[in-house]
Symmetry: C2
Subunit: 244 residues, 2 copies
């Protein structure tokens, strides 16, 4: 039985739940630590837990028989995974792997599956989480089909910029470059070359630190549904964005 630290920010999974409901969920959950590279679950395994990252990072991916890997998501602390897989039925379509030492809260599948029918608020939380992942996946799909490497990286930077509040002109890459490259569907080499091109556009890259000239540098990479996330999307300035 795990008790969630009061001082920590509540993850979306638990948002708006009654104390009682939360207790039910945590009652049979427990912490576990994984080492760098360790697999939490493999493609084909029957899922037994939902994983909530307490500290560290995970990667979800699909692997071909030839050993090529497609990264589906890169997750940080507060993120959940396998919640979608549980409701797909059947074995897991993805690998989940720790990238560095990572502490994870394991919530048994049965707890989730029964609780979802008892607390509608909880199932709505799950719905919101899964749909966000799905939205992400849709962006990934169109990125790989119709966007150049520069556009993919630019959009990735834009999202990170928006996440960090739009005020700071600086942020750092939350993952190894090769991981991001794979997530964006390109080789580390292409990613590296793309970063060089970004510099010519006014985006400084030094190791994992990204600095931009002004907060509109990334506007080229915005689209109509992402604009809604932008604090300034209803201001005049945004209208000037060459939405492309």
């Amino acid at each position: 039985m795990y008790s969630f630290p009061k001082n920590k920010k509540k993850p979306q999974l638990f948002e708006g739940l009654s104390e009682e409901s939360l207790q039910t969920l945590l009652q049979h959950s427990f912490l576990k630590e994984f080492e760098n590279g360790q697999l939490l679950i493999q493609q084909g395994d029957i899922p037994q837990f939902v994983y909530l990252i307490i500290d560290g990072t995970l990667k979800t991916s699909r692997m071909s028989a030839e050993g090529e890997e497609a990264t589906i998501r890169l997750l940080e602390s507060g993120d959940v995974c396998m919640e979608a897989v549980l409701f797909m039925g059947g074995p897991s379509p993805i690998d989940v792997q720790a990238m560095g030492t990572t502490t994870v809260l394991l919530i048994p599948d049965k707890v989730i599956k029964t609780h979802v029918l008892e607390d509608a608020r909880f199932s709505v939380n799950l719905l919101k989480i899964v749909t966000r992942h799905y939205k992400n996946a849709m962006h990934q799909i169109d990125a790989m089909q119709i966007k150049s490497p520069v556009q993919r990286v630019g959009y990735y930077f834009l999202i990170k910029h928006l996440e960090s509040g739009h005020d700071s002109l600086e942020f750092s890459l939350p993952f190894r470059k090769q991981s991001i490259a794979s997530y964006l569907g390109m080789t580390p080499e292409t990613f590296s070359r793309t970063l060089k091109k970004m510099k010519e556009m006014g985006i400084e890259v030094e190791d994992d630190k990204i600095k931009m000239r002004d907060s509109f540098t990334l506007c080229h990479f915005c689209d109509s549904d992402t604009a809604a996330l932008c604090a300034r999307h209803d201001r005049e300035e945004c209208q000037q964005c060459p939405l492309h």
Copy 2:
């Protein structure tokens, strides 16, 4: 107010709902017909309905400013869409377009959003639908990243083969070839050339009819999580599949 015909197969959206619950949903819903090419919703619009296809086909896609299009899903009768978008919050990240004359049941967003908190069974239905879409999206991602055109088409055929019951050695393409090509992330030209290669592998293609030599022709394209859908996955024969 629409009343769902008793003789028709109940769509997954309504599965296991009480008569009362179903009535609440249908009370403010209505049918609408769309013509070929007509847009039900555009990227950037605020979603107002969930669409349940009664008859015909729809396409969901993302469009770049340059006019390039990435197909996200191709939907047939019984499929739902926009249900995920509702819970993402914000404007729609996708276009929805009719491919041919299509009859759709429109369920207002408010009905969905309130009902989801009242009937946990309904929200679980939604969860299952969204996660299935998400799984699809994951397959699309890894297909475009690590699979050759032949593998993509092969996997697509495999799914269609499994859907049609694994017994028939024949099925037909449910959409125009160019639509399928876009869905698979390739040009119509490449799709056409790929079909020619498939013929050399023992898969007859004539217009939209696909005939295969035997029911194992497509096994090459299977993977561990898809195998679970196969009626014979626990038989010996499946072990022989050169899972790659």
